[in-house]
């Protein structure tokens, strides 16, 4: 039985969704930069306190997971379902690792009394309160995207193992990959803005 697949249509649909995501995070980036422009010194001091090593590790983890995702799609197109599933599993594992590092980072900050509305943070200058508010909401929203991505990737892994996604029908896996790479791109910008520019 021949089923109709609109390859271009579904890809353009996915891209339209991704572009709306770019505008969503873009709005937050504008908010960040205008507050940074108004409180340069407070932002400088607050950014100094973030853990740069954990941030760098997470960047490398996410970049590598993007590579695994691209390889997974490459191998499904070549008809090698086993390698495709293996690389998809690696992508999921690295996504979980990213969230694990994020968890460590957040708990360390919360133990130091630095969380929104905490007594210690309220006593600090206004710019630092803004910095941590943006830090938690932007990395939090990004983390939520990673979590959703891991869920969708897991569904794809099941579909590959069941043979529902194969060398003739791989558009769902490609679209999931597009989403995962976009989440990586957002982190590529979040990382220098919060951890590096001091």
């Amino acid at each position: 039985m021949e089923t109709h697949q609109d390859y271009t249509g579904s890809k353009i649909g996915m891209w339209l969704f991704l572009l709306s995501e770019i505008l969503l995070f873009g709005g937050l980036f504008i908010l960040y930069s205008s507050y940074r422009y108004k409180n340069p010194l407070d932002f400088h001091l607050a950014a100094w306190e973030l853990n740069r090593v954990l941030g760098t590790i997470n960047t490398l983890v996410l970049i590598t997971s993007s590579l695994c995702m691209a390889l997974s799609i490459f191998f499904i197109q070549k008809g090698n379902r086993k390698l495709s599933a293996l690389f998809l599993f690696a992508t999921i594992f690295l996504g979980l690792l990213f969230l694990g590092v994020k968890y460590l980072e957040w708990t360390a900050k919360i133990e130091h009394g630095l969380y929104p509305n905490s007594p210690r943070l309220i006593g600090r200058p206004k710019g630092e309160v803004l910095f941590y508010g943006l830090y938690y909401s932007m990395t939090g929203l990004h983390g939520l995207h990673v979590l959703v991505g891991i869920f969708i990737l897991s569904v794809m892994l099941v579909l590959i193992m069941k043979g529902k996604i194969n060398e003739n029908r791989f558009v769902p896996l490609e679209n999931t990959g597009l989403y995962w790479h976009l989440v990586d791109i957002i982190w590529i910008f979040l990382f220098p803005l919060f951890y590096l520019i001091t």
Binding site: I12, I30, S33, T56, L67, I185
Partner: protein, 90 residues
């Protein structure tokens, strides 16, 4: 479609890792205001690599694909520009 090779992906990944290393070590040096520009330029190059190779934009043929992203980036640039003229001249 057949031009895609897995070696390309590994090279792109290597490029991303090297660029990450450059930004992190740049941040260690005290370059002042210049560092914001450099760090953002490197982030732009990195996202360009992901867009064109990992997300296959380099291999897409339709005019729509070639136009969509520049249009959205232009819209974002206009937003950023208007916001900053508002903040600077208020």
């Amino acid at each position: 479609m057949e031009s895609k090779k897995y070696q390309t992906y590994i090279l792109v990944w290597l490029g991303l890792v090297i660029l990450t290393g450059i930004t992190v070590s740049m941040a260690g040096m005290n370059l002042g205001r210049l560092s914001i520009g450099i760090v953002l330029a490197i982030a732009a190059i990195k996202s360009g690599l992901v867009f064109s190779y990992f997300m296959h934009l380099k291999y897409e043929t339709g005019l729509l694909f070639k136009l969509m992203i520049p249009i959205v980036l232009a819209a974002l640039t206009i937003f950023i520009g208007l916001t900053f003229t508002d903040i600077a001249f208020r």
